[in-house]
């Protein structure tokens, strides 16, 4: 059996396909209803390409054994308690969890700020959506990577993932996840309100089923 503490796995460069449809959806596009002429579409797609060129996806992942999962409490093998009935329900039946995090980097945040404050807000909102979706897609990529490794152990990850700030899994847990994932190694900081910086940085918990 796995007998030694796992190390945080750092991904210095995550390569994903540009999630264009998801970006459109995030911006409120509804197929069959939203009407965009060719000129506008071309402009938006140029913004999307530009945004993607600014995004530098990095990530981290860490497998953590579960000591036990009670109805409203998750006890990690590291001794950490997480009070959350929703998370406990999500991890029911798992012996292990995977903590993951990703960031779109600071360059894209500078560009968003520059556009929003400097007068091209239309481009700024597109870049903002691209950065959000790419950071999210990076988590999918990390999940895919671990699923590959787990296949050899006859294990797999739960479908879906759970993030701090949803339901009773309080945002305060972001600090514990930040520390465990050593997100400082990928250039992410956290403030006293548990907000990750650069802002387009995300974390999540996934269960591992044997």
């Amino acid at each position: 059996m796995r007998s030694v503490p796992n190390l945080v796995q750092i991904f210095s460069s995550i390569n994903i396909s540009l999630p264009v449809d998801a970006v459109y959806r995030r911006l409120g596009y509804k197929r069959g209803i939203t009407k965009v002429d060719e000129r506008e579409k071309e402009k938006i797609e140029r913004h999307i390409e530009y945004a993607a060129s600014l995004v530098s996806l990095k990530g981290a992942g860490l497998r953590v054994p579960l000591e036990r999962v009670d109805p409203a409490l998750v006890v990690l093998g590291t001794g950490t308690d997480i009070k959350s009935a929703k998370l406990a329900g999500f991890l029911k039946g798992c012996k292990e969890t995977l903590f993951i995090g990703s960031t779109a980097g600071s360059a894209v945040m500078n560009a968003i700020r520059g556009d929003i404050e400097g007068g091209d807000m239309a481009r700024g909102v597109v870049i903002d959506a691209v950065a959000s979706e790419m950071a999210d897609a990076a988590l999918d990529w990390i999940v895919g990577f671990f699923n590959r490794l787990l296949a050899r152990e006859s294990a797999r990850l739960t479908k879906g993932r759970f993030s701090a700030g949803y339901g009773d899994f309080l945002l305060e847990n972001q600090k514990m996840m930040y520390d465990m994932l050593e997100l400082d190694r990928i250039g992410v900081t956290i403030n006293e309100n548990f907000i990750l910086m650069p802002e387009k940085s995300v974390t999540a918990v996934v269960g591992i089923h044997a």
């Binding site: 210095s12 209803i33 002429d37 807000m121 239309a122 700024g124 909102v125 597109v126 309100n193």
Partner: protein, 796 residues
């Protein structure tokens, strides 16, 4: 008969899955498979013997994860011993007639520059495994199920530095046809075959139906035999278990197609059994293999893309900008150890049409080797373009080639004795291509005739190390026309002979020709046109120079390299028109055009259209009230109905803002009007740094004639209320994105009550709900459009 000779005669059959067979025979989840096999020798021996009996020519040792990094997850193990013992066990199981392949797979960590595992640490770790496999007596090696080309390179280098045994490398590709790390099959093939892999291919991830296409894609570019080890179909999750349900006969039925598409070694991966291999062997019995179609290939690669230089290809531009010579900002950045300009230059050159990037880090005051390695790490991540390693220092080039996750081009190797003696073997070891610079010790040959002799001499020495003409690019040696007016003609002769007689790719450092002359771009562009006509394949140049890129595009058409002129047409259709086209006459009134401009978010023309409206006699205030406000209101309605989405809403709002700013001088009592309509203070509350939503709300409110004071983000309750006491706003708008900061809205409202501030509150943000707003006695707006409506109701 040696394996490489047997491959020419018939299709070699590999084994099938080991992991899924072990699971079927009782290996529990979560154990270390290698240790479990050593503790259950009869079971793993049965698996090996099963494949021998099914007809496998090669059986893989059960050492998939027996590298020090992976094994450390299970405790302290002697990796050499485990690999040796598992190899000996496998040998006993299959006997002497079956070839035994030492199986190596991923550490589970990504290697720099894509992860945190140091490249040399990865090489050293794999050497431990290779030593054990060699001690156990493997006949060949197989590096399999690789997701990261850099890790595959690290293993291949580890093997090649310890033995010359036949080595197979198979990568694993996702549904999108790329590895998880973004490498496509042709790029992986070009990188791995040049680095010394004896056979290359793919395994796992997909079933045979999908994998046969990968083999077909690789075959035209392969100089080595191709390998396929598909799963027994695509995995399906049934009752929480991953199942591969393709029957042996169905699996085997793809054998003939694999052979016809060019596979040379074939077996199975997850879900396949001895039965699958037996059926496969029967189906392909007697099939003649398709040998590699070429002995060498002129091609370069990065981690995620490749550039093939053969055939009637368009001229490749090697971006020359990443070189500190004459660039003060870049020099300063490199001195400080930063790479942001390097990344920016790479991206710019890529966007301007460069096919390759020259990287030169030579300047006084820095460690050139360290800086080059740093640049390669950054560029491998930031750009898909293959790199040209440019240095006069042999140690720098060697270090760069070792780390670079692709097949690089060396700039350059001349006829100088030291370069021949030291750099040629380095280039051969790492499978790099090189620019052959026709210079010799103490001699800069002025004539083409002298250059030809040096070229032939260097090539003879390179050929002795295994290089072919495909592996070299001959430099035409461009000298300044200002110092010798005959020099350009000698370069032309050199290029013509190299291209058409010697038969190799050619390159010029274009800008040298205009050195010391004014208006250099014309000389550069003219010389480019001339040298393209002699067969030039590559030019080192600045792709940001429009004249040069236009000449390249035109030259490609005239030299027959862009046969239907599609690239030429595409290039010029993407360029902005120089002169604005005359618009068709419109019957719309000036007022209609202003209305339409806001509706369409036409920021470019709004000022001109407003001038037209005013010229027609309409007053500024009337334009705002009767045209612009109704137009932006319609935009809001379209957004509400989702016929518009956010970028359109913002474009219209920004057009409106620009229009209002233009009309400002004519809106005499505008400020008074705004105050009459109402003053609004807006802020993102303390602790929160997200402000896009708040900025959109401010923009929309201003466009509807409200005066908005934006206090920014992360603003304390005290500051908000103090400002409110001073300015006496009608409404205070508060924004928050996070659950932890949302509660600070309540603090602001409570402070306002304590200070007896008579004011209404509007709140919004991702986590804020109508119910929460009500609970703190505030009004809720879900977006900028609704915020305008809420405020209009609050300020009748």
């Amino acid at each position: 008969m040696l394996l490489k000779d047997r491959i020419k005669e018939r299709i070699i059959v590999l084994d099938g899955a080991t992991g899924t067979e072990l699971q079927k025979k009782g290996m529990p989840a979560g154990v270390c498979p290698e240790v479990w096999c050593l503790n259950n020798p009869d079971i793993i021996s049965d698996v090996h013997a099963g494949y021998r009996d099914a007809g496998s020519d090669i059986v893989y040792t059960a050492t998939f994860g027996a590298n020090p990094v992976k094994m450390s997850q299970y405790g302290a193990y002697d990796v050499v011993e485990i690999n040796r013992e598992l190899t000996l066990l496998a040998r006993r199981a299959v006997g002497a007639d079956v070839l035994l392949a030492g199986d190596i797979c991923s550490t589970g960590r990504f290697v720099r520059p894509f992860g945190d595992l140091d490249f040399e640490d990865a090489v050293d770790a794999y050497k431990e495994q290779v030593k054990g496999l060699l001690e156990g007596g493997v006949d060949l090696f197989v590096i399999e199920t690789m997701m990261d080309i850099q890790e595959a390179r690290a293993v291949l280098i580890a093997i090649k530095e310890l033995t010359d045994k036949f080595t197979i490398v198979t990568m694993t590709y996702e549904k999108n046809g790329r590895t998880l790390n973004g490498t496509d099959p042709v790029t992986a093939l070009i990188t791995l075959q040049s680095l010394g892999a004896d056979a290359v291919g793919c395994n796992c991830s997909t079933g045979p139906e999908e994998m046969v296409g990968l083999i077909e894609t690789m075959k035209p570019w392969a100089t080595v035999p191709l390998v396929a080890k598909p799963n027994a179909g695509m995995p399906e999750l049934v009752d929480g278990k991953t199942l591969f349900d393709m029957e042996a006969d169905t699996f085997a039925s793809f054998g003939a197609e694999f052979v016809s598409k060019g596979v040379n070694l074939i077996g199975g991966c997850c879900g396949t059994t001895p039965e699958h291999i037996r059926s496969l062997k029967e189906k392909i019995a007697g099939s003649r293999p398709v040998s590699p179609m070429r002995d060498s290939i002129s091609a370069l690669s990065s981690a995620r893309a490749s550039v093939v230089l053969e055939g009637a290809r368009t001229l490749s531009i090697v971006g020359e900008r990443i070189n500190p010579t004459g660039k003060k900002a870049l020099q300063q950045e490199l001195l400080e150890g930063r790479m942001s300009l390097v990344r920016t230059m790479a991206k710019e050159q890529e966007n301007r049409g460069a096919s390759l990037l020259d990287v030169n880090m030579g300047m006084p005051g820095i460690d050139e080797k360290e800086t080059m390695l740093n640049a390669i790490g950054n560029l491998s991540v930031a750009s898909d373009l293959p790199l040209v390693i440019d240095s006069s220092n042999i140690d720098v080039i060697e270090a760069a080639l070792r780390l670079y996750p692709g097949r690089a081009l060396i700039n350059s190797i001349s006829g100088e004795r030291e370069k021949i003696a030291r750099l040629l073997p380095v280039a051969a070891k790492y499978g790099a291509m090189f620019i052959l610079l026709p210079l010799a010790d103490g001699d800069i040959p002025e004539t083409a005739e002298k250059r030809k002799k040096i070229i032939e001499d260097v090539f003879k020495k390179a050929a002795a190390l295994g290089f072919t003409k495909s592996d070299i690019v001959i430099d035409g040696l461009v000298m300044a026309a200002s110092s010798n007016f005959k020099a350009p003609m000698e370069t032309l002769k050199t290029i013509e002979w190299s291209s058409n007689v010697f038969g190799a790719n050619t390159i010029v450092g274009l800008s040298n020709v205009s050195f010391g002359m004014p208006e250099r771009k014309w000389l550069n562009a003219s010389f480019l046109a001339m040298v393209v006509s002699k067969g030039l394949t590559m030019a080192i140049a600045n792709p940001g120079v429009e004249e040069l890129m236009n000449t390249k595009m035109a030259g490609d058409v005239l030299a027959g390299r862009d046969r239907d002129a599609s690239r030429y047409i595409s290039h010029f259709s993407q360029m902005p028109p120089k002169v604005k086209q005359e618009e068709a006459p419109s019957h719309k009134t000036s007022e209609d055009k202003v209305f339409q401009a806001i509706l369409e978010g036409n920021r470019e023309d709004i000022e001109q259209l407003l001038s037209g409206a005013m010229d027609s006699g309409m007053g500024a205030q009337k334009i705002v009230d009767e045209i612009m406000i109704p137009s932006i209101t319609e935009v809001g309605d379209l957004f509400d109905r989702r016929e518009y989405f956010l970028p359109q809403l913002i474009a219209s709002a920004e057009t409106m803002k620009k229009g209002i700013a233009f009309l400002e001088p004519w809106l005499g009592d505008d400020k008074l009007e705004k105050k009459q309509k109402g003053l609004i203070i807006i802020a993102t509350v303390k602790g929160d740094v997200h402000d896009i939503g708040k900025n959109i709300v401010a923009l929309m409110l201003r466009n509807h004639g409200f005066e908005v004071v934006d206090l920014g983000k992360d603003v304390s309750a005290e500051i908000i209320i103090q400002e409110a006491l001073n300015l006496k706003p009608s409404v205070i708008g508060l924004s928050a994105l996070m659950t932890t900061t949302m509660i600070n809205m309540k603090e602001v409202i409570e402070l306002a009550e304590r200070k007896s501030l008579d004011c209404k509150f509007m709140v919004g943000g991702a986590v804020v709900t109508k119910a929460y707003a009500k609970s703190i006695s505030a009004h809720y707006a879900k977006d900028g459009v609704e915020a305008v409506r809420v405020v209009e109701k609050l300020i009748p």
